[in-house]
Symmetry: C2
Subunit: 341 residues, 2 copies
DNA sequence: TTGAAAGCGATACCAA
DNA sequence: TTGGTATCGCTTTCAA
C-alpha cells in the first residue's frame, strides 16, 4: 500500500494524507483521525527511498568500523557501542548503516557515503592521536561525532569520550595508596588516542607522588589474552617484578591472571590487577561481587550519547561543536589487595 | 555532481551516461570511456535513494540482532558475523542495515522493514528451536537467510549453519577416548537451536559407548564467565565430580578455568576442558600453541556465506531454498589431557 | 548508438 | 482546510 492507493481509497488527495500523517497543523482533526486509522489498518508505511528523495535526507546514520586486516579481529566492544546508538536511532526513526572496512578502504567509504547521500551523518570509531578522518569529514561537509577524541588535532569538532586520563590517574592512585610501587601498565596501541590518554593518567599519578614511570613495565599492543599473558610472564620473570598490573582491557586481563597464577602467585594477594572495563556483565561474579577491580564505563551509554548528539547536529546544522566527557567509576573487586613486602 | 549535471557537462543525454556507467552493451566504446573518465574526475556517484526509487530496490540488507532486555548483553560473536557479511556486501555494492531490538519489538521491526522497502532481504540471527520469525518473513515475502537453524520447524527455508551436532559428538568422543567418563556439559539456553544440537551431539557420543548422560552435570544458561565459574564450582564440589568439561563458549570457559584452579586442580591434568570457539584470535597463545582444546568454526566465514547466499537469492528469487552446513575443526590444546583417576 | 519522456513514491509550494 | 502539480535523481521504455 502506497500513498497514492491510500489517498484514493480515502477519497482525499495525497497532499492531505501526507500532511495528516506527518502532523501538519492545517489538517482537520476529524480528517486526521480518519487518515491515521486507515493507515494503521492497511499497515501503510511511507517508502524510505521516496521520502528520502523528496526530502533530501536518508534518515540513516553510518558507523564505519575499521577492521585491521593485519590483526583479524573485531573488538567486541563495538557491539556495545552499536547497541547504545541503535537505541537512539530507533526512537528517532533513523536507521544504522554499518560498514566494516579495512583502514586503507576507509577514505573511499566516507567519500562514497557522502557522494551517494547514503547517510545523513556518521560516527567515527577508534580515533587515533591525529586522525585524518576528521579533516576529511569536515571537507566532505558530512555531519559527524567522534566516539573518543583525537588529541593532537587543533580543530574543533563534536566528540563524546570517557575520561580515560582521570580514570587511569585514579586507578594508579588507588594502587599507590595500597602501597604498590611497581605498577605495570598493559595498554592498547600507542597510536590510539585512548591508549595515550590512559598512559598520561598513569604517569601523572606516579609523578604526583614523586615517582617516575619505568618503560620496562609498560607495554603497548593489541589487547588479546595472549598479550596479557606474555607481557605479564615476561615482567614477572624480570628483576623487580611489578606487584600490580593496570590493564586496558578485560580480555588481556584474563591473560594477566593466567600468568600470575602460573608463576605461583595469588591474584589479589602477591599481585594485584586493576582493569579498564566496559559494563559488560560477562565477567561479573554472581551475587555481584566483582572478580576484577575495574574502572568501569558504560560503552553502551557512550554510544547512545554520541548518537543523540549526532541527531541533534543533523537537526540543526548551525549549532556549535559539542563535547561530552563521561566519568568512569572505580569498583573494587577481589583481584586487588595491598602490596605485601 | 548528479547525473543531470554530468551529462550536460558531457553534452550527452542522461540516458546515455546512465547506460555507459551501468555497462549496457549498446554504448559506443569511445563514448563509454569518455563518460567513465568524466565520472571519475568529478567523483560522480549515483544517489542511492534515486537509484533505489527507480529500480524498486534498496541495495541494503538488514541484520536484526535480538537484544534481550533481561540479560543486557550483546554476544560478541555477532561482531564477527557482521564482519563476514559486511565483506560480502562490500563486494556486491550493498549496504548493511543493523537493528538491535528487544525481542518484543522484533516483529514490528520486520514488518516495518518490509513495508518501507528499507532492505532487500534480511539475515536472521540466533534462531530458536521453533522460531516464529521464519513464518513471518515468508508471509511478508521478504527474502531471508537464517544464520543457524530452527529444527522444530517443518518449513523449507534458506540457512547456513555449523554442524553443532557433529562438533559436539566428536569433542565428546575425543574426551571419551582419553578415558574420561564423567563429562560435564555447559551449554547455552535450552530454547536456542544451537544449544540443543550441541546437546544432541554430546548425548549421542555417550550413547555410542553405552553411557547415559547425567542431568546433574549438564547446565543451560546465558554463557557468561560467572556461569562457567558457578556451574563448575558446584559440579566439582559434588560427589563424583566431572573430570572433563565441554563448554559452549570461550567466555564461560574462562570461568570454568578459574573454578578448576580455585579448587586446587590443574587444568589439563586433573580436569580437562574442551570449548566451542570461534576463530577469534583473542584467546590464542603466542606461537600458536592453543590454550584451550577447541572445536573451532569461523563465524566470520559463516556470516560471509550467509550473506552471499542471500544476495544470490535476491538476484534470482525463483531458486529453491538452499542450505549450507559447515564443519568445525578440532584443535587440541593444553587444557586437555587423559583422565587420571 | 543516442535521446526524450514517463515513472518510481514521497514532500512541499502555490492556489483555491 | 484541501488539492494540483513540480520536484527529488535516477532507470527504462519507446522512438529516432
Amino acid at each position: 500500500m502506497n500513498l497514492k492507493e491510500l489517498s484514493s481509497h480515502l477519497g482525499l488527495s495525497q497532499t492531505t494524507v501526507s500532511r495528516a500523517l506527518n502532523g501538519y497543523p492545517e489538517v482537520n482533526e476529524a480528517t486526521r483521525r480518519r487518515v491515521r486509522e486507515a493507515a494503521a489498518t492497511h499497515g501503510y508505511r511511507p517508502s524510505t527511498r521516496a521520502k528520502g528523495l523528496a526530502t533530501g535526507r536518508s534518515f540513516t546514520i553510518g558507523h564505519i568500523i575499521p577492521v585491521s586486516t593485519k590483526h583479524e579481529l573485531v573488538n567486541p566492544i563495538f557491539a556495545e557501542i552499536l547497541a547504545g546508538a541503535s537505541e537512539a536511532y530507533e526512537n528517532a526513526g533513523y536507521g544504522l548503516m554499518l560498514s566494516m572496512v579495512s583502514d586503507q578502504d576507509e577514505e573511499r567509504t566516507y567519500r562514497d557515503l557522502a557522494a551517494r547521500g547514503t547517510v545523513d551523518g556518521v560516527i567515527v570509531h577508534g580515533p587515533k592521536l591525529s586522525d585524518a578522518r576528521i579533516k576529511l569529514l569536515q571537507d566532505l561537509n558530512l555531519p559527524f561525532v567522534v566516539h573518543g577524541r583525537s588529541s593532537r588535532l587543533v580543530q574543533d569538532y563534536n566528540w563524546v569520550d570517557v575520561n580515560n586520563r582521570s580514570a587511569f590517574n585514579r586507578a594508579t592512585g588507588f594502587l599507590l595508596d595500597l602501597g604498590h610501587r611497581r605498577i605495570a601498565l598493559l595498554n592498547g596501541f600507542e597510536t590510539m588516542d585512548f591508549a595515550m590518554r590512559r598512559r598520561e593518567g598513569y604517569s601523572s599519578a606516579l609523578k604526583e607522588r614523586g615517582l617516575s614511570s619505568d618503560p620496562t613495565i609498560i607495554a603497548h599492543d593489541e589487547m588479546t589474552e595472549s598479550f596479557g599473558y606474555d607481557a605479564t610472564k615476561y615482567m614477572l620473570d624480570a628483576d623487580q617484578p611489578p606487584t600490580a598490573f593496570l590493564v586496558s582491557s578485560i580480555i588481556s586481563a584474563m591473560g594477566v591472571r593466567r600468568a600470575i597464577e602460573e608463576t605461583g602467585r595469588q591474584l589479589g594477594k602477591e599481585t594485584s590487577v586493576v582493569v579498564f572495563d566496559d559494563d559488560l556483565s560477562y565477567f561479573r561474579n554472581a551475587g555481584d561481587i566483582p572478580l576484577f577491580t575495574a574502572v568501569r564505563s558504560s560503552v553502551r551509554t557512550g554510544g547512545r550519547i554520541a548518537a543523540e548528539m549526532l541527531l541533534e547536529i543533523i537537526r540543526d546544522r548551525s549549532i556549535e561543536p559539542k563535547q561530552t566527557l563521561l566519568e568512569a567509576q572505580l569498583t573494587v573487586g577481589m583481584s586487588t589487595g595491598p602490596a605485601l613486602n
